[in-house]
Symmetry: D3
Subunit: 241 residues, 6 copies
């Protein structure tokens, strides 16, 4: 059940302890994909997982701004510090738990959020009145297509969800000026802290390889993966139990 559309009386009548908190980012995704790509993806995948799951799940509103300072040199990118991001997520989860929704999956759409979500989920589970785990959709699908950034996977998913958000006329340029891989590596260490250090237009990977059919498959698979995870979370012994 989508929390924002429900009344408090409807939420109070639910008999579940499961919730999902979608977590996105507002950041550059090349000249062809919208700044809201990660937020749109996280929200859609969360809904797909909740819809597929047999039981009741509360879907909280999506966190729109995450950890994206690495894209600061591309206009429109928004970010907060990791500390603030973790606090915002942690306290949001605590407020859900106050109503009994204390098994929470953080459904994530942005690679830059991954380390902070891992940290905050552990902190919540060890020290607060809730159990939380992070789920990043593009890590949970079985595919040979590389992730990149504004690359084939994200372009495909957005095309399936809302085709007008992809600027077709920019795809070729996006590919040509994009980078082949993320970062600048020496001895397994990435020397680059900002995406502008290795990509001219912020793109990594080939977005022309991501059509709407692929996007449909991605949503299907990530929704399935999330549904499976919800099943496991619903019955698992909590860390502190």
């Amino acid at each position: 059940m989508e929390l924002a559309s429900a009344t408090w009386t409807e939420i109070a009548a639910l008999e579940t302890d499961l919730a999902v908190l979608p977590v996105g980012s507002t950041e550059q995704h090349g000249p062809h994909a919208p700044l809201g790509t990660d937020t749109i993806a996280a929200e859609a995948v969360a809904k797909a997982g909740v819809d597929r799951f047999s039981g009741e799940v509360v879907q909280a509103p999506t966190v729109p701004v995450g950890i994206a300072e690495e894209h600061r040199y591309f206009s429109g990118t928004m970010w907060v510090s990791p500390d603030t991001f973790r606090a915002y997520v942690r306290e949001s989860v605590a407020s859900l738990a106050a109503h009994g929704f204390d098994r929470v999956v953080l459904v994530n759409g942005h690679g830059g959020n991954v380390p902070a979500l891992g940290e905050v989920a552990a902190t919540i589970s060890r020290h607060d009145e809730a159990y939380a785990v992070p789920f990043t959709w593009f890590d949970a699908i079985d595919t040979d297509v590389p992730m990149g950034h504004g690359g084939p996977l994200e372009t495909a998913l957005i095309r399936h969800l809302d085709p007008e958000l992809i600027r077709d006329e920019q795809l070729e340029a996006a590919r040509e000026e994009g980078a082949d891989g993320w970062g600048e590596w020496v001895s397994a260490t990435n020397l680059a802290h900002d995406s502008a250090e290795f990509s001219k237009n912020g793109v990594v990977g080939d977005p022309t390889a991501g059509d709407a059919e692929l996007g449909e498959v991605l949503l299907e698979r990530s929704g399935e993966a999330l549904s499976t995870l919800l099943e496991a979370v619903s019955v698992r012994k909590r860390t502190r139990d």
Copy 2:
């Protein structure tokens, strides 16, 4: 221009220093109105103001969870601490300013956010690289109808924006079990820190008095007020100048 739907290249091409950051809340609004009422309202008013304004304005994505612990005893209400809220808003504004959008109106839909937004706007304007002011839509309209909570104004606005979100069959009960006024006052001091201390169902005011026609007027007026404010903000000497 809606930031989340735009690409970074489109945002980079803008020639404006104006932005709006809508700020909502996910909290109980009685048995008849959705938990997302404040977020929906803030976002719609922001759009109405931006549309009416003659120049270009960047509309950032809406902050969905605010300061609402006062409604903690009504299910589904989400909140973060005032400290975390201020940090999230302050850093979001700083990231907009990093791209030159350094005159920012915080378009607010929730009374509980008002003191913290006043504080953070002053802090931003005095100490950061931006000028910010808060705008709360229901304070900026000229009307005799009292605000309440989940009362006539909010019910009217949501009805105009998305009629299905109001549960008509609950309106009568909402009115009957609601409170007449906010708080429990002695010597100009409110003794109640939580809404559950004075309202059985979380409602304050008479929601049956809020129809869609009133909602249309409210949107019109608050959009006009915001547009007027944007005009003033666009030319004003910044606090630190």
Copy 3:
């Protein structure tokens, strides 16, 4: 009983859970009134209320520096950040509560402290071992005379309390170069974050309208209002009960 003048053994012998914590500010009040105006007022009103109240109340020492950065451009104004102010008040109250004085009225003399006191009183009442409410003297009196800043009300009260603190020879100039109202308003939003943006000498309102007789009435009324509030606080169910 004034805490600072008592011994610990005298305090230990009290049978009350009531305390007042006066909260002032050290900030410009025009060329005619002292920088300590708000502190003097808060302390005097607290005493007036405690004296009028039938039961025993502990009066803690007055917090002398508050939230006054808005007056930073007028010499001698002191301030701390809102975060530090809230922490100082919150922990002071916690130490009172450690001895059983866990129903605390924060008696405030400065408008700029109001939002922070509201926030910290709620935090204390919800999360600490005490119940606290803020009381701002000039909001609790019934009068047609406008508050202003260094205006008729404050000038009158100080004249009554300590006439030599008002510089009579500066009153005319104070009035002439003062502002008529607080702030610079567009669409119910104050564009000015600092008082120097709208007042040449820091004054708002007409201080010549504030004589000692009015001051006596103000002290009487605010003392009565505080006494009434103490009565209510002494018997009220605490927020967390």
Copy 4:
């Protein structure tokens, strides 16, 4: 010049960069001396030093609550955490420095404040726009009488300043039930974190040995010492210069 009694215009007319910030504590001083002993002492010594100094010095209002959790088991004792105390002092000094009073002596009346004042004075001097040093009156006088707590020195000083604040009828009991020394020492380490661990009534030392004549000498000597310090501070190269 006492800041709280002056107007901003009078402060603006001063030509000095010197200020004193008295720092006290509200804490038990045995059954015979008031909880405000340290605050009263710090304020009086500050005034004595300023009066003796040949140049102009701004005297800020006294910080009334300090670091005194060690006395938590004696009723009426108030305290804030060291972090909050340091922040309150640091930001108060910064606001003085904003007006040009950037050579500040922290005139201290409480032993428990000493380590935190040393830390914050160094932090201010190295990282802020001011130079600050702490001065603790009882460390700066040449006397054979031991300090204790609520002992001969403090009792003497308060007797000189305001004789009625000392309960003569309690002096004998204060002495008898007091401790001879502060703490419980093994290998130069104090095993006791709270005064209640080694003193029945909170007293250390013999308060009957402190009469008003001694108090007059103490005020004279500490005022002289502070005046000498102000002279040195007024001409010294600042740490960061």
Copy 5:
């Protein structure tokens, strides 16, 4: 040059801007390997890299306690919060940079430190006066042997460095009661926040497979990798340049 053994005059005479800060952890490594395994490894690898590098490098003392709460159920494990760990590393690096050693490699021996080191290195490089990158030795070597925890790689390295630290008589039990893999995975999400949730004795992998010969190779390879990284860091454009 090892910083702790050098005098300040010797350090002042160096002409380099390169430093390494080894970062370890004190945490369980099974019944056969010491709690200091990660610290010993980080320090040894740092030395190996510095020795192989052609230029001068300052080697700071090793941070002994890191992020290891995941092992809290195994005795002797020490940890600090991620916030404190990041602050300790960030400020340590800032103090090195104050002397001109502002290109710093964080040489890490513990998987649990990796996300926090990535975050703090980015923060340092973007906002402080230094450029920093993390290097985790077991991620930088080319081997088919799986890492585990207290598994073949760590056991081998410690055996090479200090054979007596490995309890040979415990190796068989360590293997038998250890886990095959790290965590409890569903949909690419690890449901376990603590190692005790999936390993009886804290071991992951087969420690019997790690002999001293392998350890020598590991040290050689990780030293080479670090030396190569130092070469790259010494000439790279800093993030903020």
Copy 6:
């Protein structure tokens, strides 16, 4: 038992609640003594005390970087802020206490750490699940030789522990350019916040007066003193009991 060399199973088998946490500093000690002097001393004294004590004591790894910004103008000196230092020590102690080692002596080698260790030991003992006291070796020995900085005592101790770490050829210069005393005192207040304000080469006192024989005596005496303290700590009522 040295924690870092033990396995978790060995630590789990201990029957003691005693631990020592050595705390050092990496900071200039003149042209003749190593930057690691305080760390080496703290660790050695801790071991000497533990060895002399009749019961079992866990010796945690040594904190290598402390509060030493006062030496910032001498190359190689490392430091963290007092806040970070206290957090690192406090959380390290909490992790020891989680395993039952909740009587902890902080064995300190650096004067600059003393105030912060006093504060954090009190905070731990009052608010956490442990009892802690600080022990500073050079305050606990009975000697007429003055401490200084890099002076006779420290030079002697290091000479005894590891003679090669003292640069004999620098001793004469160290003495000649060193200061006679610490600081620049007026009215019992030190006007100097940095050691470079009063010592040319960072030395205070005469290091030529510190030979290895004296060092042996110092280690003997401080080890005895620590052993005596451990005995007292092992049986003492904890502050919160």
